[in-house]
Symmetry: C2
Subunit: 237 residues, 2 copies
């Protein structure tokens, strides 16, 4: 149907406009798209959660709107543990630190929790972390680029590793999918291994940031022994 394509075309345009300016006035969006405000509202309603209308503005989807209730609670439950672990990690960050933040679903909490007034240099290699850090006022952000891996929203490449060699890091905050006393610390994506190892090698201190559900789990990609970390930041002591 050509109508449907018109609608999705408008949603694309909306995405573009929001990338430039968000929140975006409903009135402005309507004028820009050449339709009425009501139509924009209906488009947003039919966007499957990509966008939201709030206070006469359109904003990009946020982290609450995830579909059904069961999963939502599950997510929230893990999120609480992750947030707790990250709160401890965030306490370790000091003024004028150079920090490395790993990718994954845990570390975004950390990136968001670091006090805004701290003056930092922050190194990362994933899109969502970079997004959070880029909004900080007093932070110099360095993103290790390369080939994008959608599974973890992270990048990989040997130039990124080269760049790491030239950086000196105070504290590296590393996440993991599995932590086991004998089998060591593991994750799910092999391309992350060289980056994690290089970051740890370049860092004075390495801190493991994991919620307790990861304990006694083993993932395919091994990258460090547990004693390589100065501390383990978790929801439990």
């Amino acid at each position: 149907m050509s109508r449907t394509s018109l609608k999705s075309e408008r949603l694309e345009k909306l995405a573009v406009m929001l990338a430039v300016q968000s929140p975006l006035k409903l009135e402005v969006a309507a004028a820009e798209l050449g339709v009425s405000e009501m139509t924009v509202r209906r488009d947003v309603l039919d966007s499957g959660g990509r966008f939201t209308c709030l206070g006469g503005h359109v904003i990009g989807a946020q982290n609450d709107i995830a579909g059904d209730y069961v999963l939502e609670q599950e997510i929230d439950h893990h999120a609480a543990a992750k947030a707790k672990a990250c709160a401890r990690a965030a306490n370790l960050v000091e003024d004028d630190d150079t920090i490395f933040i790993d990718c994954g679903t845990t570390t975004p909490h950390l990136a968001a929790m670091i006090p805004q007034d701290l003056r930092l240099t922050a190194v990362c290699y994933s899109l969502n972390i970079a997004d959070i850090l880029s909004r900080r006022q007093n932070t110099r952000l360095i993103l290790l680029g390369g080939l994008f891996h959608p599974e973890a929203a992270s990048f990989s490449g040997d130039v990124a590793l080269q760049e790491l060699q030239r950086l000196s890091i105070n504290k590296a905050f590393i996440s993991a999918g599995g932590v086991d006393e004998q089998r060591g610390v593991t994750c799910s994506h092999f391309h992350e291994v060289p980056v994690k190892q290089a970051a740890m090698a370049r860092s004075v201190q390495s801190h493991l940031v994991v919620d307790s559900s990861k304990f006694d789990k083993v993932r395919p990609a091994f990258f460090a022994q547990t004693d390589a970390f100065v501390s383990i930041c978790s929801d439990r002591g």
Copy 2:
């Protein structure tokens, strides 16, 4: 003052709560923080743009590349022209192309307009473009990393240039702040110059993507002559 520290303490809590759930109901935030809604509003107002109140909710700061109002209107006004220019540019993209997309406020339109079914390799060096491209199914994304520049949401660094040397690009889509017959093609940020030039050098074709408001304008950073481009994609022919 202990009062001020209480306020910033609440702002930190807000940040944590928003990391878990956003948008967050003003009513919920007030209850959670043990203060009135009015106080939460005032906190948000005094957060220096970290947070925003919208429709009775608190949301985290969003992208607003164009800080002040004057510029904001400028962007909105030109958005249609930019979209038109980008529509023409998007037509040039073919299956299995390797494309380079420049940073700025114009090129996000292009990134969003490229048909989703095209199989591509896309190279970019700015956060907002990467964000848009990362959502494509059939596209291999390469982000040139480095030091982040908030003004243009772009990255710079010599490793990024090294990475570019190893890539062969079909079509480079370059944007500019000024296009002048005699003075050539110019932009506002000097750190973008080496990247633009390297991308053009590595590309079979270079296309200039600008709306007509840029014609006969001159910006401080020169990076190419007009004849370096195969075509100029603009809202006017």
